[in-house]
C-alpha cells in the first residue's frame, strides 16, 4: 500500500533532499534565475529529475525529452496520466501518478532537482514547503494560474532543463504548422468561430483568454462581435441565457465536451434556431479532441489541428449539405 523506505537508494534520495535543505550550494556562474508568480527561483544547474505538478505540464516536459518522476492526474483514463499525443515520448518511463492534493512527502521521496508548479493551483504555503525540497517553478508573474501560453511555458521549462534549442525548434515547428494551415485556408481568415460548452443545462462560450479560443485565433478566426462584447466572469468564459444563444451563432461553432454531453446537445432545442446549425457549420469535439484543446500544449495542439482541419473544412465549404463527420456522429445534425 505504501512505499517502505527500505531501499537504500530511496533513503539516499531523502537524505540528499535533506542535505540540500540544510546547505544549498550554488555556483554563481551557472545559476539560472526565474521570476514567477510566487517570487524568484534559482537553479544551480539545469534540472534532470523533474516532478510535474501542473495538470498539463507533463506535455511540455515530455516534448523536451524529459520523463517526469511524477505526474499530476487531471482527468481521463490514460496510462500514467499521459494522453495519446504524448505517449510515444514517454517510452518505457513509468512516472508516479499523483492524484488529489500534492503529497509533499511523496515529492520529497522522489528527490527531484526541479518541481514544476505551473498551472498546478498550489498555494503559496505549499510552494514554500516544496521549495525546501527542490527549486519550484511557477507561472511567470504576468499570467494567471492556468493562463500561461504553451510557448511561454515551454521556453521557461526548457531554460530550466537546458533544452532551449529543442524548445525553439518545437515552437518554430508549431508556429509553422499554424502558418501552413492559414496558407491552406485563406477563406477561413477573418471568419468568426466559437468554442462552446454545454453542461448541466448551462451553455457557456470560451473567450479570448482561454487556450481553446487561442487555438482558433491562431488558425485565423476571430470571436463574433456579440460574444466579444460580453463580459465574462473573467477572460476565460461566459455563460449564456438558454433562451438566447445568438452570441455563439458564429461562422464556425465548435462544441467542447468531456464525453457525456452529446445527447444533451442533440436534445438542445435552441441550438436548432442557430444559423450555424441550419447551415451545417457545427463540429463536435469528442473527449480526446476536447482534451487536446483544453491541454493546449505543444504536443496536444498539433494533434488537435490534425483532427480539426477536415472537420472545419467540411463545415466551412459553403455548402450546407456537406456533412461534418463529428457533428453527424454525435447526432447534432
Amino acid at each position: 500500500m505504501t512505499t517502505p523506505l527500505a531501499s537504500l537508494s530511496r533513503r539516499g534520495f531523502l537524505a540528499g533532499a535533506a542535505s540540500l535543505l540544510a546547505a544549498p550550494k550554488l555556483h554563481a556562474a551557472e545559476e539560472l534565475r526565474f521570476a514567477h508568480a510566487y517570487g524568484e527561483t534559482v537553479l544551480a544547474a539545469p534540472a534532470r529529475r523533474v516532478v510535474s505538478l501542473g495538470y498539463t505540464t507533463q506535455d511540455s516536459l515530455l516534448a523536451l525529452g524529459i520523463v517526469p518522476q511524477a505526474i499530476r492526474y487531471w482527468y481521463g483514463d490514460h496510462p500514467y496520466g499521459v494522453w495519446p499525443w504524448a505517449q510515444p515520448l514517454l517510452g518505457d518511463g513509468q512516472p508516479m501518478l499523483m492524484t488529489g492534493e500534492v503529497s509533499i512527502e511523496t515529492v520529497a521521496s522522489l528527490a527531484p532537482d526541479l518541481i514544476v508548479g505551473i498551472g498546478s493551483g498550489i498555494s503559496e504555503a505549499e510552494y514554500a514547503l516544496l521549495s525546501q525540497i527542490a527549486p519550484v517553478l511557477m507561472q511567470a508573474p504576468e499570467f494567471t494560474t492556468y493562463g500561461m501560453p504553451w510557448d511561454a511555458e515551454l521556453r521557461m521549462l526548457a531554460r530550466a532543463t537546458g533544452t532551449s534549442e529543442r524548445a525553439e525548434a518545437l515552437v518554430a515547428d508549431l508556429h509553422g504548422r499554424f502558418e501552413a494551415l492559414r496558407a491552406r485556408h485563406p477563406d477561413w481568415q477573418g471568419q468568426t468561430a466559437v468554442c462552446a460548452w454545454h453542461e448541466g443545462g448551462q451553455t457557456s462560450a470560451f473567450l479570448d483568454g482561454d487556450s481553446r479560443a487561442q487555438v482558433l485565433r491562431e488558425m485565423g478566426f476571430r470571436l463574433p462581435e456579440a460574444l466579444a462584447q460580453m463580459q465574462g466572469t473573467d477572460d476565460f468564459y461566459t455563460a449564456l441565457s438558454p433562451e438566447d444563444l445568438s452570441p455563439i451563432d458564429a461562422d464556425l461553432l465548435l462544441w467542447i465536451s468531456d464525453g457525456g454531453q452529446a445527447d444533451d446537445l442533440a436534445a438542445l432545442a435552441m441550438r436548432r434556431t442557430l444559423r450555424a446549425n441550419a447551415e451545417g457549420r457545427e463540429a463536435f469535439c469528442d473527449a480526446l479532441l476536447s482534451g487536446a484543446l483544453s491541454f493546449g500544449s505543444v504536443l496536444s495542439v498539433p494533434y488537435a489541428l490534425k483532427r480539426l482541419e477536415p472537420e472545419i473544412s467540411a463545415a466551412l465549404d459553403g455548402d450546407p449539405k456537406t456533412v461534418v463527420p463529428s457533428a453527424s456522429e454525435a447526432g447534432l445534425l
Partner: protein
C-alpha cells in the same frame, strides 16, 4: 482517571503513527535519529513535512472539539456545534468568494473571518428585544444562515472556470496540506489562551446548565455569561478553522465521543476530553486522508466526515434502543 489515560494513550499512538506512516514510511529508529541529530530523512520528515502538519492537526482538532463541546453544553443541545450553526458555511463562502474575486489572502484566515461574521450575524438575528434568546431559536437561525451561505457558495462555484472550481472545492473541505511551524505556533498559542479562558468560565457554565431561572437565582447574570461563553466558543472555532480550513464534523462529534472514551462526568473533564478527542480525530483523519489510498492524497476534511458519520449513526441507533433520544 482510567478513561483519561486511555485517551492520552490513544493520542500518543495516533501521533506516532501519523509521524511514521504515509506514502513514505519511516522507522522509529530513523525518526529518533532525526530528532537527536537534526539530520537525515527523519529530521526532514519531523521538522518540515509531517511534524508541523501533525502538531497543527492536534491543535486545530483540540480547539474545534472544545468549541463544539462548549456550544453543546451552553445550548444543552447535541446539535449546537459550529458546523451546524452556520459557522462552517460562512467560512466556506468567504473562501469561494475570495477565489472568485481573485483575492490572494490565505484561505484559512479568510475562512476564520467568514465564520466569525456568520456567528455575529446569527447572534444579532436571533436577538429579540426584552427577552432572553432561547437556544433553539439560535440553532434554527444558525441553520438558516448556514443554508443561505452554502447556497451562495454553490452559486459562486457555478461561476468559476473549471480549475478554480476544483481549487475552491479543496479549500471548502478543510485541509492540512503544507502546514509549517508558524501555523503550529498560531493555533497552539491562541488555542491555549482561549482554552484557559473557557476553563475559567466552567462554574458559570455549570450554573447555566441548571436552567436559567436557577442560574439567575444563584446570582449569575445569565445574558452576559452566555455571551462570554458563546464568544469564547466561536473564537475557538475560528482559531481551528484559521489553520485547518472548515473541517466538518469534529466540533459536532468530539464532545459526545470524548465523554464516552473518558467517562468524564464533570464539565471540566468533559471539556478536556472533547479537546483531546478532537485532536485524536483530526490526526487520524489526516493520516487516513494522505495514506489510505496509494497515490492519492485527499484533504483531511473528507476523512473527518467519513469517520464521524458512521459514529453518529451508530450512536443514534444505540440511543434509539435505549430510548434516550
Amino acid at each position: 482517571m482510567k478513561g483519561a489515560l486511555t485517551l492520552c494513550l490513544l493520542l500518543l499512538c495516533a501521533t506516532l503513527a501519523a509521524l511514521m506512516l504515509g506514502p513514505v514510511q519511516l522507522s522509529p529508529a530513523l525518526l529518533w535519529q532525526g530528532l537527536r541529530t537534526g539530520e537525515g530523512p527523519g529530521a526532514l520528515v519531523l521538522g518540515t513535512i509531517r511534524g508541523p502538519r501533525v502538531v497543527t492537526a492536534l491543535g486545530a482538532g483540540a480547539v474545534l472539539g472544545l468549541s463544539g463541546a462548549l456550544f453543546q453544553a451552553l445550548f444543552r443541545n447535541p446539535l449546537a456545534a459550529p458546523d451546524i450553526m452556520g459557522f462552517t458555511a460562512g467560512a466556506g463562502l468567504t473562501i469561494i468568494a475570495a477565489i472568485a474575486l481573485g483575492l490572494t489572502l490565505p484561505p484559512p484566515l479568510l475562512a476564520a473571518g467568514g465564520g466569525l461574521a456568520a456567528a455575529l450575524l446569527v447572534a444579532l438575528l436571533s436577538q429579540r428585544r426584552g427577552q432572553a434568546t432561547p437556544p433553539l431559536t439560535m440553532i434554527l437561525v444558525g441553520l438558516g444562515i448556514g443554508f443561505i451561505a452554502s447556497a451562495l457558495s454553490s452559486f459562486l462555484l457555478t461561476l468559476l472556470p473549471h480549475p478554480q472550481a476544483a481549487e475552491a472545492q479543496r479549500w471548502l473541505t478543510g485541509s492540512l496540506a503544507a502546514r509549517d511551524w508558524t501555523h503550529v505556533a498560531q493555533v497552539w498559542l491562541i488555542g491555549a489562551l482561549l482554552a484557559a479562558l473557557a476553563l475559567a468560565q466552567m462554574r458559570r457554565l455549570a450554573a447555566l446548565e441548571l436552567g436559567e431561572d436557577l442560574a439567575a437565582g444563584l446570582g449569575l447574570r445569565v445574558g452576559r455569561a452566555r455571551i462570554a461563553l458563546a464568544g469564547t466558543a466561536v473564537l475557538l472555532a475560528a482559531a481551528g478553522v484559521a489553520v485547518a480550513g472548515p473541517v466538518p464534523f469534529i466540533a459536532l462529534m468530539s464532545g459526545p465521543l470524548g465523554a464516552r472514551i473518558t467517562g468524564a462526568r464533570r464539565l471540566r473533564g468533559q471539556m478536556l476530553s472533547a479537546a483531546g478527542t478532537g485532536a485524536l480525530v483530526l490526526v487520524v483523519a489526516d493520516l487516513a486522508a494522505r495514506a489510505a489510498l496509494p497515490g492519492i492524497q485527499l484533504p483531511a476534511g473528507v476523512m473527518t466526515g467519513l469517520l464521524g458519520a458512521p459514529y453518529l449513526l451508530w450512536r443514534l441507533s444505540r440511543e434509539m434502543e435505549k430510548g434516550e433520544l
